[in-house]
């Protein structure tokens, strides 16, 4: 029988928690073309490793549509694709720029 006494456990990555901003994820997912809900969930999971629940996704979609940052396209069967609007693109660019500046500043502090 194999003993487990001397098995060295793989070093775990420190838990840093999830960065979660569903509206930002949706905007980023739509930045390279229109998508329907299921495609957005898969794309966001591929993009950042976070799998949004359907309720969370549609919570973000309704609010983004309300803000005029995304707009619905004609439905394909029962699924409806969405696309980002010029206003949404500006908002996404602004949010990502802020995040980039934040990341750069944080990394500089770590290197100092």
């Amino acid at each position: 029988m194999r003993s487990t006494q001397n098995v060295v456990k793989a070093e775990k990555q420190p838990e840093t928690g999830h960065f979660s901003d569903p509206p930002l994820f949706v905007l980023a997912s739509l930045a390279n073309g229109p998508k329907h809900g299921h495609a957005m969930i898969e794309d966001i999971a591929h993009l950042c490793g976070t799998r949004l629940g359907p309720g969370t996704l549609y919570g973000a979609i309704t609010r983004l549509e309300q803000q005029g940052w995304i707009e619905p396209l004609p439905p394909e069967e029962r699924r409806r694709p969405y696309r980002i609007t010029p206003k949404g693109l500006r908002a996404l660019r602004s949010k990502l720029t802020t995040l980039l500046q934040f990341s750069k500043a944080g990394l500089r502090r770590l290197e100092a």
Partner: protein, 166 residues
């Protein structure tokens, strides 16, 4: 996901939301794997949509009138409970006056008093639900209904206090 479960979960959302997003949302649920975590996520999101409803976009929400809001079960139930409680107390006082010529103070609280207490306390969670659900949507109309409900509660307390049967 099971089609019946998907339909059930979709129906948890407010009507205006369902009319706009229901079909595509149900299609998304059907395409997904389902499971407890997904269901919990949808239930929580539906409750959030009730508490903080999305407005605008293509959702045509009918304006909330005072009459429409009083037709909500959570609006008329507390009022009905208060009126039933008041009728119980007044009925009890009336029967005492007819039978004995004066109001009797029972040593034990009695069935009427217990029923009155249950009705008064039982309406509190319904009132809280009504306030949480409707204050963000129609503050003016909701406050009017809450004022009416408060009036009914005060009328009950006044009758109990002044008759000395409490």
């Amino acid at each position: 996901m099971n089609p019946r479960l998907a339909r059930l979960l979709m129906r948890l959302y407010p009507r205006a939301w369902r009319e706009r997003y229901g079909e595509e949302f149900e299609a998304l649920l059907l395409a997904g794997r389902g499971g407890l975590r997904t269901s919990a996520n949808v239930v929580w999101s539906a409750l959030s949509e009730h508490a903080f409803p999305t407005q605008g976009a293509e959702m045509h929400q009918s304006p909330v009138t005072f009459v429409a809001i009083t037709r909500q079960p959570s609006a008329f139930l507390p009022m009905a409970m208060s009126l039933i409680a008041l009728a119980l107390v007044l009925g009890n006082l009336g029967s005492d006056l007819i039978q004995n010529g004066h109001i009797l103070r029972e040593a034990d609280e009695g069935t009427t008093a217990h029923l009155w207490q249950l009705l008064m306390v039982g309406q509190l969670p319904v009132l809280a639900f009504f306030a949480i659900k409707w204050l963000p949507r129609a503050p003016g109309q909701t406050l009017k209904v809450l004022a009416l409900q408060a009036g009914a509660v005060l009328a009950n307390l006044a009758v109990v206090f002044f008759s000395g049967v409490g």
